[in-house]
């Protein structure tokens, strides 16, 4: 059993702690509530993109200009973004934390959704380090991802393994502000 349903406001607090400036995103079901939570956080600018392949190049440009971006896309979108990951993250040594919606993940090791079954082999193929975050109890993995990206000058993935709780249920799920 997963304790403490993952709440987007807790993830936003982690982003603020890390000094994140921009959240480059194409929303997906797993991380949709992050968008709503970020609307209430003035220190982070949301940059919506039309296609996932744009996210890494936009983040690369932001980093070059002195900003501290993250991206957030779904696993299916990460596959679409493969060439950008190759050329403009791995290829340039970009220290970028990538939040990846782990669509289809069910913790039982058996899912009919190939978007889920391919994610971890795909990350291994690219030699991208990653952390799976499924609950509030896993949130200490977020700063580890930032630390790893900064230390290695490489992209690091945070796979969001469950849908965020809706904001209105914060108290119900026992999340912290």
């Amino acid at each position: 059993m997963i304790n403490g349903v993952l709440h987007p406001k807790n993830v936003v607090a982690q982003l603020v702690q890390q000094g994140v400036s921009h959240y480059v995103t194409l929303p997906d079901s797993e991380t949709a509530h992050m968008y709503e939570a970020l609307m209430a956080e003035p220190s982070i600018t949301i940059v919506p993109v039309a296609r996932e392949g744009e996210a890494i190049p936009v983040a690369a440009g932001l980093f070059v200009a002195g900003q501290n971006p993250v991206i957030s896309i779904q696993n299916a979108g990460l596959y679409e973004a493969g060439d950008a990951l190759r050329g403009l993250a791995l290829g340039i040594g970009l220290p970028l934390v990538m939040f990846i919606g782990y669509r289809g993940h069910n913790r039982k090791g058996d899912t009919p959704d190939s978007a889920a079954t391919f994610l971890e082999p795909y990350l291994h193929m690219w030699r991208v380090d990653y952390f799976v975050v499924e609950s509030n109890d896993d949130l200490d993995r977020v700063p580890l991802a930032f630390e790893r990206a900064a230390k290695t000058n490489q992209p690091v993935a945070v796979a969001i393994g469950t849908e965020y709780a809706k904001a209105k249920t914060l108290e119900e799920v026992g999340g912290s502000r």
Binding site: R51, P57, G61, G66, I92
Partner: protein
């Protein structure tokens, strides 16, 4: 019909201290005229993404003009960038599209729809202004005004469609140069030399 060399020359004459993000054939000709190599980035290792990198730089340093020398084949491969740029509406982004109707560096095969009008597409997406030029005198006269207007601006340039297989900046060497260029640009923009090594080239 405009030549790549003439277009790059007149753009460079109005460039001042703008960042220049180039790609494909444009990089070859831009490198021949640019006097600010520390402000130049030639995107050789991710076709179609020059405009996306330029958008990131423009959003990250909103006080400095950013010009992007894109092409029709590259833009078609990343067409959603028009909507993304229009949505963020950076006032300091000037998106040039060199339209020759062909894939120059692969031998001159036609792009899927050679008659696309990119200025009209940009206007439809919500760019602040869009222009289309097919002679160098008109482009030359318009350049100072373009770079002093609020963006995002798309400037479509009809260029001579000839295969450009010699000296095009898309090689292993240029892929290795990209991380160096990006680090030099970050140092120039931020004043700090804090981006260490990482990846296969550096």
């Amino acid at each position: 019909m405009i030549t790549y060399a003439d277009a790059c020359r007149v753009i460079n004459e109005s460039r001042s201290e703008a960042v220049a993000v180039t790609t494909m054939t444009q990089t070859k000709y831009w490198n021949q005229v640019s006097g600010e190599p520390d402000l130049d980035v030639g995107i050789a290792n991710a076709m179609s993404k020059a405009s996306s990198v330029a958008l990131g730089i423009a959003l990250g340093d909103s006080e400095r003009p950013v010009i992007c020398l894109d092409s029709d084949g590259s833009l078609l491969m990343n067409f959603g960038t028009l909507a993304t740029i229009a949505g963020m509406a950076p006032k300091n982004l000037y998106h040039f599209v060199f339209n020759n109707g062909i894939y120059s560096i692969t031998g001159g095969q036609p792009v899927p729809a050679p008659d696309v009008e990119y200025a009209k597409a940009a206007e439809a997406c919500g760019y602040a202004v869009a222009h289309r030029f097919s002679d160098i005198e008109t482009l030359d006269n318009a350049m100072p005004g373009i770079l002093s207007s609020d963006g995002p601006v798309l400037i479509e340039i009809i260029v001579k469609g000839e295969p450009q297989t010699d000296g095009v900046d898309q090689t292993w060497e240029s892929n290795a140069r990209l991380p160096q260029q990006l680090r030099a640009l970050r140092k120039r923009l931020t004043g700090t030399d804090d981006w260490g090594s990482g990846g296969p080239y550096i």
